[in-house]
Amino acid sequence: MDKIPNNRAWWLVLPVFLLVAFSALIPLMTVVNYSVQDIFGPGQAYFVGTEWFKEVLTDERLQDSLLRQFLFSSAVLLIQIPLGIGVALMMPKSGIKGSLCLILVAIPLLIPWNVVGTIWQIFARGDIGLFGWGINQLGVDYNYTGSTVDAWLTVLLMDVWHWTPLVALLCYSGLRAIPEAFYQAAEIDRASKWAVFRYIQLPRLKSVLIIAVLLRFMDSFMIYTEPFVLTGGGPGSSTTFLSQTLTTMAIGQFDLGRAAAFSLIYFLIVLLISWLFFTAITHADKEQ
Amino acid sequence: MSLTLENLSRIVDGVDYIRNASLTFEAGSFNVLLGRTLAGKTSLMRLMAGLDKPTEGRLIYNGEDVTGQSVQRRNISMIYQQFINYPNLSVYENIASPLRLAKMPSSEIDRRVKETAAMLRIEPLLKRFPLELSGGQQQRTAMARALVKDATLVLFDEPLVNLDYKLREELRAELRDLFRERQCIAVYATTEANEALALGGTTTLLHQGQVVQSGPVMDVYRKPVNTLAAQLFSEPPMNLIRGRVSDTELSFDEDTRHALTQELADLQPGEYWFGIRPSHIALKPANDDDLEVPVQVALSEISGSETFMHVESRHFEMVTQLMGVHQYHTGAPISVYLPINKLFVFDTHEQLVHTPSQVSGRGV
């Protein structure tokens, strides 16, 4: 459908523009403003240029937390995307069973993020949590508040529990959007189950998978509340991710200039990587 | 009452949708726009409706310039190829909607809706919702909504294309009857020559955004101004054969020649295009002076009552439309006969130079 050129349409988008500009542009300008100043108190600020940026980029604590962040996001994508596709393939196509599955699978998505943390905080404890207790019963020494590896695995497991449903639901609806005729044609062409998946389902899931990858990357890269409640970032700083580092810096230490510079770099990284993902996937498509 | 298009053009991003169209539509007339896909039929109708603004030219209604008038203020109706109805309103409310917007008293609305529904034979469906209906019923609802409000201009954009052909035939016949008594301007777009013939009225041929020819349907059919008009307005398309005229005879090639008749005597010697309608070609000579052309059969398609036979000679191909069943094997050599008095002649610029004299056949 051709869109009609009409500049008066701006009147329709004006409220959105103003609202988002108010919520995004003004704060962003504040951040930029802070990032180039050193602030000691009201009225006491000095222009420091790119000092904060240099400091942030060379700060080892931040580099560590960035590395941890990348590890975490990659692990999230590697586990959740295939698992989500698998779950979607198993979900019943229609009827009451379909709706029921949909709702049950969606439950983790509807839980406030701090409650997600709370649930796992309880669930994984060795004394009162089924999961922690169960693992200990198996003879494995498991303690997520003491061991770095255990803490990591628990945070990862929690994220898989929390967000795989999103990938599954996206894929499920992508699958449902494939017209029946394609399956019929494949049946008639005597395609194997694998061929149906490889040549019909997977190519047609591409657009939802792009969304799934982008969303899961972005949101896992910004994760804050759940690990904060579960582990408080510990033990040590082993599960302290970027958002928590930033929050601590800004609110805990009130280190405004540094936090602002860090914020900008953080935002740019998210934008850049999202853009890379997006163009890489869509470009590979045009190439062919 | 009349609607006049004055040098109307619509050009968007360098693409001509409509180029320099000038036409007049009279009240009470039924006008068919005939052209292939993307010929500009829809574009022209959208300009007439005021849904698009022309880049150049004016739209005059009853002597008043209405080019810039908004759609809401024009009293028009439009029926689309897709079945467009308000999905969340019942058939009754669908038909009533233009009247409700015009703030008509509800007793009058009720009377009109029922009357129009009866006319289109959808009275029993008034309580149903559009998506519960068959395609034909949905389109009838759309037509009822278009007809209920006494619009001055009713536009049909290939309304029957998505229906079974038998249903098409029925609705087409009903449409013709519905508009006989009305004082509005009806404009109907179609890609099919046979539909234009069946609907009658005035026909306008469109091609690549331009008006090729316009006039009463039979004038356009019988006197196509050029080869393009002839091709557009016959189905299967008119056969065109390159040939020449000398002082004494006309010839397609060395083997196919015929002495000039009285009728063709005015033609200057030279190269011409000769046109012959598929239905005029016969397997047996009807007159003594029919031109015999030896050909080979390429394919015969039998429709039950008719046979479409595709034949080829060394230099040209032809399609013939024959009554009855004629079965030949591919490659069979036969002769077909072209009545000289039914030949159209076009010059090398493809403009019409000779029309076959109207044979007023046996009649009362």
């Binding site: 459908m1 869109k3 009409n6 349409a9 701006w10 329709l12 988008v13 409220p15 959105v16 609202l19 988002v20 919520s23 995004a24 003004i26 704060p27 504040t30 951040v31 802070y34 779950v87 019943p92 049950l104 439950i107 509807l110 839980i111 406030p112 701090n114 409650v115 649930i119 309880i122 004394d127 009162i128 949590g129 999961f131 529990w161 999103l166 639901l169 996206l170 609806s173 992508g174 657009s207 939802v208 792009i210 972005m218 910004m222 930033l246 929050t247 800004a250 609110i251 914020s263 953080y266 935002f267 | 409706a49 849904l51 028009i76 109706s77 689309y80 467009i84 308000y86 233009p98 917007l101």
Partner: protein, 268 residues
């Protein structure tokens, strides 16, 4: 048929695993603290509603829920009000800077909320909105409005433009057409958008906690209070957690048939 059965088994196992942590929370919410700390039991042996009674009788608890509901509702309303016309503009018209504007809107969905914490705090404090529902609702618009525009635009593109034209031809003015004809046609889209706006506002805590202190404090922030002098009150904490899941369940129940469609547009 064998394959269908293995699929059913697979999905059942997945759902059971998915629901176990939730079950555990539910289980705990019906236990006394003695039972919770006294040893692991698969279901409450001394079934009690006491934990829920605590929440429903203590205003400082139930006000948390009311606060959360209040800002979520305000957020959903604002989001829909501004996103509907904008999505219509994007789905129907070409206008100066449309593509850039669209991308800029979406880029806000990518902004880490942590980045905006401090500026938001200062912004809303300076205009006197700190610790109000409207502040949180406006802050959540940052990510909900772009999302809503995106989802709605997808639904609106699915409605052929001929419907708009038909309505104009019948004599509808734009506002009347939009409200009476167009909105009913994208009902399910509006439902789905409202659902997602609700969900993302309901589950967010970082901004909500930062922008409030007492009067508009969300339930999530109040839950941290269960850590008292005598340790954590696990039973009440679990009950509070269970209660936060219920509104989401209710909402998804209403839009269950449309949610799949919203996802299918690839827009979440």
């Amino acid at each position: 048929m064998k394959q269908a059965r293995s699929k059913n088994v697979g999905i059942t196992v997945f759902i059971i695993l998915l629901l176990t942590p939730v079950y555990w929370l539910l289980n705990m919410s019906f236990k006394t603290n003695q039972e919770i700390l006294g040893g692991l039991t698969m279901w409450p042996e001394n079934f009690t509603l006491q934990n829920y009674v605590v929440i429903f009788t203590d205003p400082s608890w139930y006000n948390g829920y009311l606060n959360s509901m209040a800002y979520v509702t305000i957020n959903v309303i604002i989001t829909l009000l501004v996103a509907l016309p904008a999505a219509y503009a994007f789905s129907r018209y070409k206008f100066l800077g449309d593509k850039h504007l669209f991308f800029w809107l979406l880029s806000n969905r990518m902004a880490p909320p942590a980045v905006f914490l401090l500026p938001f705090f200062q912004l809303y404090s300076s205009i006197g909105l700190f610790d109000t529902h409207i502040a949180v609702a406006l802050a959540h618009c940052l990510f909900n409005v772009p999302l809503a525009v995106w989802i709605l635009e997808g639904f609106m593109k699915g409605v052929p433009r001929e419907y708009d034209e038909m309505a104009y031809i019948d004599g509808y003015s734009f506002p009347k057409f939009f409200v009476k004809v167009f909105l009913p046609m994208i009902r399910s889209g509006i439902g789905v958008t409202a659902f997602f706006a609700f969900m993302f506002s309901w589950v967010e805590l970082l901004l909500a906690r930062t922008l409030t202190s007492v009067d508009a404090q969300p339930i999530g922030a109040i839950m941290t209070r269960t850590i008292g002098a005598s340790g954590i009150d696990w039973g009440v904490l679990a009950a509070a957690g269970v209660l936060t899941i219920i509104p989401g369940l209710l909402v998804i129940w209403f839009v269950r048939n449309h949610v799949a469609k919203g996802f299918a547009l690839g827009r979440v």
